[in-house]
Amino acid sequence: MQVNEYKPLIVAFCCNWCSYAGADLAGNNRLNYPAEVKIIRVPCSCRVNPMFVLRAFQRGADGVIICGCHPGDCHYTSGNYFTRRRMALLFSMLDYLGIEKERTRVEWVSAAEGAKFAATMNDFVEKVTALGENKRLEDLRCKK
């Protein structure tokens, strides 16, 4: 019997130098994390424009997570510090507009933290699944 179980769509922006390698390590170690997580590799977490996050939501993502190097470990020295300020303001604004705050997250995952990557994704998917579909930020014009 087929069960129509709700599966969220998660977009994960991963920095090339830490988190993307962390995701690789999770794979190498055969750690499980849900297939609903779609990883987009970015050169640095500060490449993530707030518009990327909102565009993902507009086009039907249910959750967006941004992963970067730990503060102080940025490959470009200071990129993730800018990410931190930008996303703090963006998340606060989304909350101000009444968007569920569990749908967005920033996590610092180093290249050695494959286990943390898998655990973070498992936890995030679980939280977003509990919230259900993203209705508040989707844009009908962007639906195919």
């Binding site: 604004m93 009908l140 014009r141």
Partner: protein, 332 residues
């Protein structure tokens, strides 16, 4: 009622035009109605005498016009700046958007501008003309023989009720007296919204933003929005025009519009003034200002020329994005 008179401003501008200090004057001219004042460029004393206007409806902030006007004019441009306009002026200078040498800035005092929407609430429609006399506005309507007298204090624009400063932070010459930075209650509305539940907030913003017709007036008037090319003009984005659905589809536009000026917005309130749908857009900008003050220390964009905007700066001890919700809750 404004303390400074139209004649004083014309006299000053004419004198500077006559002695060749400036070539053009940026000022206000009458639009279709008395309350519909439009920015204009004047080049002679005759033009000034004929069309220059100074009244309780001269809300337009000229700082942004300097970006294009200084490029086109080969001489100096005289610009009249109200206290709040000087913050935008400074912010644009900080961003090297125009040549300071080509501008002659005259600071003028401001007693607050009137909001025509508030007058229309009192007098209904059919406003033929409005005289600003003393502390009252005399509104002549098509339907009444006698003009309706409205106290100017009752119809102040929201941004003037919560005026943040009567101090000019930049000028070459100041008419009238130097004012003070005021202690305004401009974040009260934001705090009220923050105290609501997420569902209530969503309902509030859905009600406000679903009225948006995407005319882009808020973007075009904003003195902080001076990009030559704008992300919203991308015809391939699929969202460059108004959504045919009468729902809540323009939130991305408004979040990004406010975000792009976060840390640079001087809170001049022009976005809300020009909005034909009366959306309180300043509440989005003020939310960012409030958060920046809260998380990264008090910062007033434009207060000081050359200051570093909070979003192009950082400290190693900054708040984590996941903590912002708790921080605000404890403050409230």
């Amino acid at each position: 009622m404004q303390k400074i008179t139209r004649e004083q401003l014309i006299e000053k501008a004419s004198a500077l035009l006559a002695d060749g200090t400036v070539k053009q004057v940026l000022g206000w001219a009458k639009g279709e109605f008395d309350y519909d004042i439009t920015p204009a460029v004047f080049e002679s004393a005759e033009e000034l005498n004929a069309n220059f206007v100074w009244s309780d409806f001269c809300g337009a902030n000229f700082s942004k016009y300097l970006v294009s006007k200084t490029r086109k004019c080969d001489g100096k441009i005289l610009v009249f700046l109200k206290p709040c306009d000087t913050y935008s002026f400074n912010q644009l200078l900080t961003e090297h958007r125009f040549d300071r040498e080509k501008v002659y800035a005259v600071g003028i005092p401001c007693e607050g501008m009137a909001d025509i929407a508030k007058i229309k609430e009192i007098c209904a429609d059919g406003i033929a003309s409005i005289d600003c006399e003393g502390d009252a506005l005399k509104v002549h309507t098509l339907y009444d023989d006698e003009p309706v007298c409205v106290p100017a204090a009752d119809v102040l624009a929201e941004r003037c009720v919560n005026c943040k400063s009567k101090k000019h932070v930049a000028y070459d010459e100041l008419l009238g007296e130097e004012g003070e930075v005021l202690d305004s209650a401009r974040f009260d509305e934001v705090a009220k919204l923050e105290a609501m539940t997420p569902d209530e907030r969503f309902a509030f913003w859905q009600g406000e933003l679903s009225r948006c017709i995407r005319c882009n007036a808020c973007r075009n008037v904003c003195p902080a929005c001076t990009c030559e090319k704008c992300v919203f003009d991308n015809p391939n984005s699929g969202v460059e025009n108004k959504s045919p659905a009468n729902s809540f589809e323009e939130k991305m536009f408004h979040i990004i519009r406010a975000f792009h000026v976060a840390g640079r917005c001087t809170d001049c309130g022009e976005c809300s003034r020009v909005c034909p749908q009366h959306i309180p857009l300043h509440l989005l900008n003020r939310k960012f200002i409030k958060d920046i003050d809260n998380f990264y220390g008090e910062y007033q964009a434009g207060a000081e020329e050359g200051s570093r905007a909070p979003l192009v700066d950082y400290t190693t001890e900054d708040i984590e994005p996941g903590e912002v919700f708790d921080r605000r809750d404890t403050d409230a």
